[in-house]
């Protein structure tokens, strides 16, 4: 079935083959190979995820036991946990940096960076990205952004503490809180590096997908993963620059004394000279990026789960075109909903109504996707691989977290729910857990492609069940706190009478969070152990149709020896009636599958239909297939 042709007559040497000599540095560090860059993104993303999870455990400890001393905290954190109790300033830094790392470094760079880099060239049939150099630069900007962000833990005043949305004036007036000082400056530098990295990556992905597809790979033959990465990259290109615009104005406010976002501020007895600006304008610019950003986070995960669910249900994805159109719908809608983060800023109620309607319309494409996942699973020959479990987990979180989005998108309900734990519960399920599960599904599924070895399935199951249960135990109770009006980002619940009754729930949630964190040890061990000791991966371990599994297990620069395979069909011909195997890779021409071809396979090509009809007359179906 292989259509890879080896043209040995091309075997003459070229003088300009400089990249034959691979050194340690060019192979592992400043690599321009998309597969290596994908691994760099993944491992950096995993390290950042572990750090961000560690931060969350620290502030969960504070929330659960606000009156207890933990001497070991002082050992690790020094003056930020004097006497073994986390200081309130540091608590704010913890939640801020946890959010920033998770949203940007793990779920944007770690997810898109890893899988767009790995899968775009391999699944569309390209040798590498449009610009391997920009691609390398994209990783190193990301890495530097991580270093700068983590560096802010090692300065006197600590990291940025104004929340991951860095609303002014906390983020601008350097003396407002300790975190508004150097830590905030580092946050801004880190974000600019990160946005540069994202743009270089995104621009590269879009150009590669539009210009470098192999023969036969038209847009409607692309796997849904590629569609998702494509639309994600477009979202990034269209929204990140707006954040840059906002950040530039913020930097001028911070460092040069302009008043883009500031007005009428009194610090103690000191009246600040800034006049005429408006902090609300920052919110507009921030959320014009910020809302598309949450789709930048979830869409690659949705694409990955489409692929994983279809492969492991051994069924074509239900409603391929509907899946693509719903992704496009989400992409377009994401730009006109940012105001739903700002319902309580004194927005004109009419405008609030408009944003409410656009927000609620997003339920439509989201529901289309959800039902299509369920319909794909329905009566499939399901193979419960760890990747499949995580993909199903994503669907579960997407439903349970998505439903509360309908509450929050409602401008009048939001008056009560705004800035409460209800919001925390909502986005940790729908975007946090769902996207992380999509990412983990991708790691388990494409690990053989990345490292040429298999991960241990049993540890995978352990990892899945512990994480899945713990995630619900952590985030589900938070809904009830929110409904009771408990605000987010509060340091301790002991100071407010109405919040005291939730202390026991906080203890429970913290134990669940610790369980979730411990469950990741199973993953980390499995991941790093299998790189060296895992079972050797076969060519196509999941019996999948997409192009990446036709490339040799051993990585080589340029992905395929000889010519790039040609594509003849869509990627979802699983369990096609009349064919002997339950999958037909994209590289198999219809002429080799005469017994299973259907009229619509030929897309109106009359000659091909005629050939098919002639063949069917010559080979009548004799056995009764039942």
């Amino acid at each position: 079935m292989s259509t890879i042709a080896l043209h040995d007559e091309h075997n003459h040497d070229h003088a300009d083959h400089g990249h034959h000599k691979e050194t340690l540095i060019s192979k592992y560090i400043f690599s321009m190979d998309h597969k290596m860059i994908a691994k760099q993104f993944l491992i950096t993303g995993i390290i950042m995820a572990v750090i961000a999870m560690g931060l969350s455990i620290l502030f969960r400890i504070q929330l659960a036991w606000p009156d207890k001393n933990f001497p070991f905290l002082e050992t690790f954190l020094g003056k930020w946990a004097e006497g073994g109790r986390i200081k309130s300033d540091f608590y704010l830094a913890l939640v801020t940096i946890h959010g920033t790392i998770m949203v940007f470094f793990v779920l944007t760079a770690g997810l898109s960076g890893t899988f767009s880099n790995l899968l775009i060239p391999l699944q569309i049939g390209a040798r590498d990205m449009a610009s391997p150099f920009l691609n390398m630069l994209s990783y190193w900007f990301f890495f530097t952004a991580c270093v700068v962000m983590m560096g802010s833990f090692f300065i006197q005043t600590g990291p940025a503490s104004g929340g991951w949305t860095v609303y002014p004036p906390l983020s601008i007036i350097e003396t407002a809180i300790p975190g508004s000082g150097l830590g905030m400056t580092m946050w801004l530098i880190s974000m600019i590096l990160f946005v540069a990295s994202s743009l270089m990556g995104g621009i590269n992905y879009v150009s590669t997908i539009l210009n470098m597809r192999t023969k036969g790979m038209d847009l409607w033959k692309m796997p849904l993963t590629i569609w998702a990465f494509f639309l994600t990259a477009i979202l990034g290109i269209l929204s990140f620059p707006v954040l840059v615009a906002g950040v530039v104005l913020m930097i001028f406010d911070r460092s040069f004394g302009t008043s883009f976002y500031l007005s009428d501020i009194v610090m103690g007895t000191n009246i600040l000279p800034n006049e005429g600006g408006s902090p609300i304008l920052w919110q507009h610019l921030f959320w014009f990026l910020g809302h598309p950003e949450v789709y930048i986070v979830i869409m690659p995960a949705l694409g990955i789960s489409s692929e994983v669910i279809s492969v492991n249900s051994r069924k074509p994805i239900f409603g391929y075109h509907a899946m693509v159109y719903s992704l496009i719908g989400i992409t377009v809608l994401s730009f006109i909903v940012w105001g739903h983060h700002m319902f309580v800023t004194g927005m004109n109620p009419l405008l609030g109504g408009v944003f409410m309607i656009t927000t609620l319309i997003i339920a439509v494409p989201s529901a289309v996707k959800t039902f299509n996942y369920l319909a794909t699973l329905w009566r499939g020959n399901i193979r419960f691989t760890p990747a499949m479990l995580f993909a199903i987990g994503l669907v579960s979180f997407f439903i349970s977290g998505g439903l509360t989005g309908i509450f929050l998108g409602n401008a009048s309900l939001d008056i009560n729910l705004h800035d409460t734990y209800f919001v925390v519960a909502h986005f940790h399920l729908v975007m946090g857990s769902a996207a992380i599960f999509g990412m983990l599904a991708g790691v388990y599924h494409w690990y053989p492609k990345m490292f040429g070895r298999m991960m241990n399935a049993k540890l995978g199951y352990l990892h899945f069940w512990l994480t899945f249960i713990a995630a619900y135990l952590v985030f589900f109770p938070l809904h009830f706190l929110g409904l009771d009006g408990v605000p987010r980002r509060y340091y301790a619940f002991t100071e407010f009478e109405f919040m005291k009754k939730w202390l026991t729930v906080n203890v429970f949630v913290t134990w669940a969070a610790i369980m979730a964190a411990l469950a990741q040890v199973a993953f980390l061990f499995n991941f790093f152990y299998s790189i060296y000791k895992g079972k050797k991966a076969p060519q196509n371990p999941w019996e999948s149709n997409t192009l990446e599994w036709t490339a040799p297990v051993e990585h080589l620069h340029g992905n395929w020896p000889g010519e790039i395979p040609t594509v003849y069909r869509w990627p979802y011909d699983y369990s096609k009636p009349g064919h002997d195997a339950d999958f037909i890779p994209q590289t198999v021409p219809f002429s080799q599958t005469m017994s299973s071809n259907l009229p619509h396979d030929f897309e109106g090509n009359e000659e091909a239909e005629k050939i098919q009809q002639d063949w069917e007359i010559a080979n009548p179906v004799t056995e009764n297939k039942g």
């Binding site: 080896l6 610009s131 621009i203 615009a245 906002g246 408006s278």
Partner: protein, 192 residues
């Protein structure tokens, strides 16, 4: 086997890379769209714009950058006719005009400072006239990088295909920042 694969790889295909430059143009447009929408919302909510008569130096800088686009077009045309020395002359001229543009921007800011319309003040719309053209000036510096790479390529006698490719991306980028400046200038003229 590995060598045969690299054969196909070595064919220089400028299309995807040119597309990258276009996408950069798109994202940069969005950034300036972000700035100008800040200005529009600010002006609408405060009921005032910058309220200035813009300094004449901005007119001169606009003329200079338009002239630089013309010389760059002439450089491309010279390359098409394989007249490399004219190409280099025109590229040098473009660089000089670009420096003239930058100089005029500073002259304009200087005359604004003299009239009291300083960057730091109680009207963010006036600060805008400093900050956003400054961001545009950073694009000019990047554009100078492109022009320099074309110029170096032309002096080093790189292959014609690569020389043309460098000229093309330089042209895309330079004409873009030219149009971008005209947009910003007209925007500031219209939104007092």
């Amino acid at each position: 086997m590995v060598l045969s694969m690299e054969k196909t790889q070595d064919i220089f295909d400028p299309k995807p890379k040119k597309f990258i430059v276009w996408l950069f143009v798109v994202s940069s447009t969005i950034m300036f769209g972000g700035f100008t929408s800040y200005y529009l919302v600010f002006a609408a909510s405060k009921g005032k714009g910058h309220g200035l008569v813009l300094p004449d130096a901005f007119i001169y800088s606009t003329l200079l950058i338009i002239a630089s686009s013309v010389t760059l077009t002439l450089a491309s045309r010279a390359l098409r006719k394989l007249n490399f020395s004219l190409q280099r002359k025109m590229l040098w001229l473009t660089i000089i005009l670009a420096f003239g543009f930058g100089f005029m921007q500073f002259v304009a800011w200087g005359s604004m400072v003299k009239t009291g319309a300083t960057m730091v003040g109680n009207n963010a719309a006036i600060s805008f006239i400093y900050v956003v053209p400054l961001m545009h000036l950073f694009h000019i510096i990047a554009g100078l990088g492109f022009i320099t790479s074309s110029l170096v390529g032309s002096y080093k006698n790189i292959t014609l295909a690569k020389n043309k490719f460098r000229m093309e991306i330089t042209s895309i980028f330079w004409h873009f920042i030219d149009i971008l400046w005209i947009y910003l200038y007209v925007f500031l003229l219209l939104n007092r």
